[in-house]
Point group: C2
Chain length 168, copies 2
Amino acid sequence: MPTIEREIGRFQDFLARQGQKLTQERTALVREIFATHYHFEADELLFKMKQKSTKISRATVYRTLELLVKSGLVRRVHLGEDHYHYEHVRGDSHHDHLVCTACGSVIEFNDPELEQRQLEICARKKFTPTFHNLQILGVCDSCRRKGEQPASPDRVTSIGEGAMRLRK
Amino acid sequence: MPTIEREIGRFQDFLARQGQKLTQERTALVREIFATHYHFEADELLFKMKQKSTKISRATVYRTLELLVKSGLVRRVHLGEDHYHYEHVRGDSHHDHLVCTACGSVIEFNDPELEQRQLEICARKKFTPTFHNLQILGVCDSCRRKGEQPASPDRVTSIGEGAMRLRK
DNA sequence: TCGTCTTTGCGACTGAGTCTCAGTTGCGTA
DNA sequence: TACGCAACTGAGACTCAGTCGCAAAGACGA
């Protein structure tokens, strides 16, 4: 897959710029991450590597994820759970998430108008934004059809319950 | 403060509705929470109670916070750090947060237009929203004047670094 | 006073993430 | 090809927020 090779190249450049090396472990992780087309958790990644009998330690996974986030190849996101999720950055399209509290599915969306409005708010507050993180919790179409109800609409409760429900 | 008494009353109603009791510990926590006019962490609350030599255990603090979140009196928020923050709900004004990654200060804002746009997005995706959570990370006006620079603007990096910087 | 039910504190536990440290690897230089 | 050194790794101990189980305490109606 040429795309993955390109990402590996970018990571190597990033590392080289600060006198760091692209090791076998790091390459293997980047390969795995860019082959995964969805949000993942650090431990999930560790587990997958183990399954493939690619020996990599917990510490290395976390260290590499940190480097990848710093390099801009990977993004750390909150999806309503109480720990981080990661996703690889494709191109440079920023997006936000709709998280279904019934089935846990995540729908991505990108809305330039919404982004624009946020910039206006920042300007009004004299705030210089660098990044934002928006999750909308609720119930997706197919769950709604199945009769899943949002716990109590308009209620803040849903944060708590959403998070609970999503837990393993 | 009559306001606090009213909140305590509301909490009592909520508890009574499910056969639960308003105990001294719970009352003390509600008092403390509604006397705190800002985002706080669970352990911070526990610490404050200890300082006032109000004896309350960790478990009770967490249990009560959960009840308060369920009752809608308290809201759980993510502020870019890797654990929860809480805030008491005043009236029913929903708001979002601008979080300064340099000094850690938090600016609240409410923007009906932004909320409206989110509803439109949900409608387009056939998603039934119950709650959302938006943080914009960046640098506040006074930090910017002091020469604080956003680590690398337009870069996702800032999530990681923001969170790092904010850590105790 | 008894019985039942809820609540509490204690302390052990969990799980994500971090740190330390000794051993290993990668790589430029000779 | 060997050397030296910095960067890297794995193992496991550690941290810290949050949860759980359980026995004791408290509330309260009969």
